[in-house]
């Protein structure tokens, strides 16, 4: 217990020291077009029963807002970080939320909120697991020690899918609805910042962080062909 407390005090001091000499990275994700392919057909029954089928309709959200908020940005390179905790529910035959960003070593709880069985599992390299069948009110806890991207599914419901991004440090987050993000307390130096989208994949940029003003980055997702070529040269 005392050791834990000492460790915590140490990290706090360290963070404070970084903050004293820390720089910031801020930026924006710019998404030009829809990245997630929509289902191209409605359920057969919708057609059969003469329901007006409108595949372009986005129920609650601006589609680009949805895409921007599903972009994960993190700084590469291992730095000491505090593990976190998050909850991913199974509700209405969906994972909620369907995208989580956590530093390595964090724990995630998977409670079943549906009246039916679910069977959450993952076959991803950073962490594979199978939580078995369990009913409403039960939960399972999973620790993710290694950074990487873990995809989660349900054996019973193939339509359920979620992604968990385990970052190597604490500087990782989902962009907000307008695409902005901001990391602070970064020691000056050269960094590689990665942006990931499930459909578009990784986009990386290097950035120099100093104390004077925040370093700015803009991610264009998806990368146009010419741009990605020039990045490749650099």
């Amino acid at each position: 217990m005392s050791l834990r407390l000492q460790q915590a005090t140490f990290f706090a001091a360290l963070t404070a020291a970084y903050a004293a000499y820390a720089g910031e990275i801020e930026g924006a994700v710019i998404v030009h077009r829809r990245l997630t392919k929509r289902a191209i057909t409605a359920p057969v029954s919708a057609y059969q029963r003469g329901v007006a089928v409108n595949l372009d309709a986005d129920a609650e959200q601006d589609p680009l807002e949805f895409e921007r908020s599903h972009v994960v940005i993190y700084v590469e390179g291992e730095f000491p970080s505090r593990p976190g905790f998050a909850v991913m529910e199974q509700r209405n035959r969906r994972f909620a939320p369907d995208l989580l960003v956590l530093p390595a070593g964090s724990q995630i709880s998977f409670p079943n909120e549906d009246p039916i069985f679910h069977n959450v599992f993952s076959l991803s390299k950073p962490k594979s697991f199978d939580l078995g069948n369990y009913v409403k009110g039960q939960t399972r806890l999973v620790t993710f020690p290694k950074p990487g991207i873990v995809f989660v599914n349900c054996h019973l419901h193939p339509n359920m899918s979620a992604a968990i991004v385990i970052t190597p440090n604490s500087w990782g987050a989902r962009a907000d609805a307008s695409g902005r993000f901001r990391f602070s307390g970064i020691p000056p130096g050269d960094y590689t910042v990665a942006a990931w989208h499930k459909a578009a994949g990784f986009v990386r940029q290097t950035v120099r962080v100093d104390n004077r003003r925040p370093a700015r980055i803009e991610f264009l997702i998806p990368l146009e062909e010419s741009v990605s070529a020039s990045y490749a040269k650099r």
Binding site: Y47, F117, N133, H155, L156, P158
Partner: protein, 558 residues
């Protein structure tokens, strides 16, 4: 015309009967052929539909096999099989709902390897809800009736590691209206559903009762004939049968209508043609025959041989018939004329011979005939009548054959008995000639040439015009010749004297007109004087009507 009518009827009636009979027979046979064809096409159509259905069902079940291979479904199934709790069943039900929504079926039932239902869902309207498993019959056929709806069910086996762990029955709502032909769904004789518009199920049921369990039958519904077949290839199972209903009358009626039209048209044409032909044949054959018969009857009535106008008929046979009739009639006429002439000649020569018995009366008959001829000509009588008078005059005294020469040639006065005998001769002459056919026209002259104008003559005492004209003329001519001829007891009177005696007795003994005409003819024609000698040749001439006097004059002059 009676013959023509009968012939017309005889030729038209069999034709009409034949036509009507043929029409009926052909209509019957065509109708039954059409009915048979309809039945066959119905059967073929059912077979075709069945094979298409089978292929479609095979395709459908292949596609559905992918659904049964869903790992998630199998996982859910395993959950139910091993856990068996309410949540597990709900989970499976939920999975079925998802499948149902995504492939758009109306009915999903999953049952374990032993056929025990595990979970089922059903769509009603837009809602998909769980099924009360207690109420469901495990489908044994391709169709399933549940809560008033028919479902077409495809059973899909769910296998795992070579073991059949369950059967997924995929059902779609099915309406009898989807059958493009009228059908009725029955279960043990009761009609449960039908898609024949305008008929109640009860009505259909009473009609179909006749069919019983026959796979094919005909029954009548509202006076129309229906053909019904069990649709063998639509397997409902659970005691349900589906029967097709085909209105035979309605299917046959267009053909029958066309047939009827054709037959009525062609039949009318044929009938008209037959009427025309019959009328023509009746006219061209029967009418001439009828005319021939009518003429023959006429001639039978009149006794005259018939004579037909030539070329009266366009038919050669009829013309020939008429011509041969004419020939035959001519021959008969000629023969008869010949016969009567022979009689006349015979009787004439008899009369002449009679005349010649007494030299004083020789040539008497020929002379009387000449005088009478002259009178008759002056009176402008018809040629036939003139001829009758001429020959009648020739024969007038034939009755004297029956009177003894002693009386006839007796010089001096006659006794009353003798005179009575003389008075017999007209009746005797009549009796002689009566038996000879063809001499009838001369009987009156022979019999009545001694009747007087005032009724004092014999044999009947007829008066005036009661006596025929011919007899009156011969009476005058006879008296004149008698007066002008010599007798053994006196010389003959001179012409004028005799004429005066005639005139004196005109209106008493003689017809005044005849006497007047005779006097005129004597005045005009000087050649009408009595002649003593008349040869047989002259007699023959007189009989033939040739001018005897002129020939005599000519011979005398030469």
């Amino acid at each position: 015309m009676k013959y023509a009518h009968r012939t017309f009827l005889w030729s038209i009636a069999p034709f009409t009967i034949l036509l009507v009979g043929i029409f009926g027979a052909v209509q019957q046979s065509v109708s039954s052929t059409v009915r048979q064809g309809l039945r066959n096409s119905l059967r073929e159509r059912q077979a075709a539909v069945a094979s298409m259905e089978r292929r479609a069902a095979a395709r459908y079940s292949r596609a559905l096999r992918a659904v049964a291979e869903s790992a998630a479904l199998k996982a859910g199934l395993q959950l139910v099989l091993h856990d068996g709790g309410k949540e597990a069943r709900l989970t499976l039900e939920d999975q079925l709902k998802e499948i149902c929504d995504s492939i758009g079926v109306d009915f999903l039932l999953i049952s374990n390897g032993n056929g025990v239902p595990l979970a089922g869902i059903m769509r009603s309207g837009d809602r998909i809800s769980g099924m009360d498993l207690a109420s469901i019959e495990t489908p044994t056929g391709e169709y399933l009736l549940h809560s008033g709806h028919i479902y077409r069910v495809t059973p899909i086996p769910v296998n795992q590691a070579g073991e059949n762990i369950a059967t997924l029955s995929v059902g779609e709502r099915f309406d009898l209206s989807e059958f493009n032909a009228p059908v009725a769904l029955l279960r043990s004789g009761r009609v449960i559903d039908a898609n024949l518009p305008g008929f109640s199920l009860r009505e259909l049921e009473s009609g179909l009762r006749r069919c019983g369990r026959d796979s094919e039958c005909e029954f009548s519904l509202r006076n129309e004939t229906y053909l019904s077949e069990v649709l063998e290839n639509v397997r409902f199972g659970n005691g349900y049968t589906l029967r097709s209903l085909q209105n035979v009358d309605r299917a046959v009626s267009p053909v029958q209508r066309v047939l009827r039209r054709i037959f009525v048209n062609s039949g009318l044409c044929a009938l008209l043609a037959a009427i025309g032909l019959s009328a023509v044949s009746a006219r061209s054959i029967v009418q001439p025959i009828a005319q021939v018969v009518a003429q023959l009857r006429n001639s039978a009535g009149s006794g005259l041989p018939p004579e037909f106008s030539a070329c009266a008929s366009p038919v050669r046979e009829i013309r020939e018939l008429m011509a041969s009739f004419n020939d035959a009639a001519g021959a008969i006429r000629d023969g008869r004329e010949e016969l009567s002439r022979a009689y006349v000649e015979f009787i004439g020569s008899l009369a002449s011979a009679l005349d010649a018995r007494d030299p004083y009366t020789a040539g008497h008959s020929v002379r009387v005939s000449e005088y009478s001829l002259a009178i008759a000509r002056r009176l402008n009588l018809a040629p036939q009548q003139i001829d009758e008078i001429r020959i009648g005059a020739l024969l007038h005294d034939i009755g004297k054959i029956g009177i003894a020469d002693s009386v006839l040639q007796k010089p001096g006065g006659l006794t009353a008995e003798e005179f009575a005998l003389i008075r017999e001769h007209p009746v005797i002459g009549r009796k002689i000639l009566e038996g000879v056919q063809g001499l009838a026209p001369y009987l009156a002259i022979v019999e009545l040439h001694h009747e007087n104008w005032d009724g004092s003559g014999y044999p009947y005492g007829q008066r005036g015009q009661e006596t025929p004209l011919g007899a009156r003329i011969v009476h005058v001519a006879d008296a004149y010749d008698a007066m002008t001829s010599d007798r053994p007891y006196r010389r003959g009177m001179r012409r004028e004297e005799a004429l005066r005696a005639l005139i004196r007795n005109a209106g008493v003994q003689f017809d005044p007109l005849v006497v007047k005409v005779f006097a005129e003819s004597l005045g005009d024609e000087g050649d009408l004087r009595p002649r003593q000698n008349v040869s047989l040749a002259n007699l023959a001439r007189a009989i033939r009507g040739e001018p005897v006097a002129a020939a005599q004059e000519a011979s005398r002059l030469s």
